[in-house]
Amino acid sequence: MNSPTETTIPITVNGDGRSVPDGYPLTDLLRDLEIDPGDDDATTGVAVALNGSVVRRQDWEDVRLAEDDTVEVIQAQPGG
């Protein structure tokens, strides 16, 4: 858990700003979005980009977020 004294940093998630603790794990951010990174069913069809580059699923748990990071979390939706 994060202690209240930790520094928070601004990041952008799917175009919206939010504050998270410095070094916040990407997997914690996904849980905040109600995507369980350990659940194959929940993550099927989901992908993540960090600052314009895809983060492979097997690398999600290694990512720590830094100030002004831009995260995109996508999924398949109806389309033509």
């Binding site: 998630v13 799917n14 175009g15 919206d16 979005l33 109600e34 995507i35 929940a42 099927t44 069809g45 989901v46 992908a47 993540v48 980009a49 314009g52 580059s53 895809v54 492979r56 699923r57 995109e72 979390v73 996508i74 999924q75 398949a76 939706q77 109806p78 389309g79 033509g80």
Partner: protein, 273 residues
């Protein structure tokens, strides 16, 4: 032709008339979009009625305010469909390449319907960005199905870049205007005989699909014509028949047009008074 079995005038397909794009092979020549249906059940019923094996999806941000909606992907995979992600809404090669890479990671497919548009009013491709993105994605190992203008030069360039299919529009996306320039589509077909060609966008009703297939196109990609029809499932069935009818007519080889009549019945032996 050699793959057909003709019996008493009936033509039955053997496995030989598949639509092959890259390493993928489909017996249906109809690719169908999954958007704008009245509800998910109508979509599923319509998809089944088309006989399609390949359906398109968009790649969009997970809704941060309302995460984890019912999975569109699950519905389609349960139906046994191969999924073709698109890059709809991308304006630059950079955006399209990132969306394609995200789609590959999310869906585990190298198929991509490449769409790079120039504005919101026409949804016409931005050719410069389209060619740039196509090159990058082909080099990155994608099976690229490229949505293009009905422009023989652009289509030739996309084929030469290694796209697995080139998909000129019949008319603007969602317009239902049909095939507005059959002459260009004919030229494109005549000049590109080494790459599958699909008419993507603008199909309004079954006769549009027939016309495209009679022009020798390898397949049709459509969405709105079915999804927004008054009876989507019936239109889906019509489109299936249209694509099959057009394909057969093309393969059969139509008679030449002539200005004057030519009697079908023999002249000899007529009863004369």
């Amino acid at each position: 032709m050699s793959n057909d079995v003709r019996t008493n005038g009936a033509v039955e397909h053997e496995a030989g008339d598949a639509l092959v794009m890259g390493d993928y092979s489909f017996s249906s020549r109809l690719i169908v979009g999954t958007s704008r249906y009245p509800n998910p059940q109508v979509m599923l019923d319509a998809l089944e009625a088309t006989g399609t094996e390949l359906v398109t999806v968009a790649i969009r941000r997970v809704n941060v305010e309302n995460p984890a909606p019912e999975s569109h992907l699950d519905l389609l995979r349960q139906g046994g469909y191969e999924v073709l992600p698109n890059t709809a809404g991308c304006y630059t090669a950079r955006e399209a390449v990132l969306v394609a890479q995200l789609a590959r990671e999310a869906l585990g497919t190298d198929l991509i319907k490449l769409e790079v548009i120039g504005d919101d009013e026409t949804l016409m491709p931005d050719v410069e960005q389209l060619l740039d993105a196509a090159k990058t994605l082909v080099d990155d190992g994608f099976t690229v199905l490229a949505y293009a203008n009905d422009d023989p030069i652009t289509c030739r360039k996309l084929a030469d870049l290694g796209c697995a299919a080139v998909m000129p529009l019949g008319s603007p996306i969602g317009s239902g205007m049909g095939i507005v320039n059959p002459y260009n589509l004919r030229i494109i077909r005549e000049e590109i005989d080494d790459t599958p060609l699909i008419v993507d966008a603008g199909i309004g009703t079954a006769s549009d699909a027939v016309m495209a297939m009679e022009l020798g196109y390898d397949g049709i990609l459509l969405n709105t014509a079915i999804a927004q029809a008054q009876h989507p499932v019936e239109m889906a069935h019509a489109m299936r028949l249209a694509v099959e009818a057009g394909r057969h007519a093309h393969r059969a080889g139509r008679i030449p047009r002539r200005l004057y009549a030519e009697a079908s019945s023999p002249r000899e032996g007529r009863v004369e008074t």
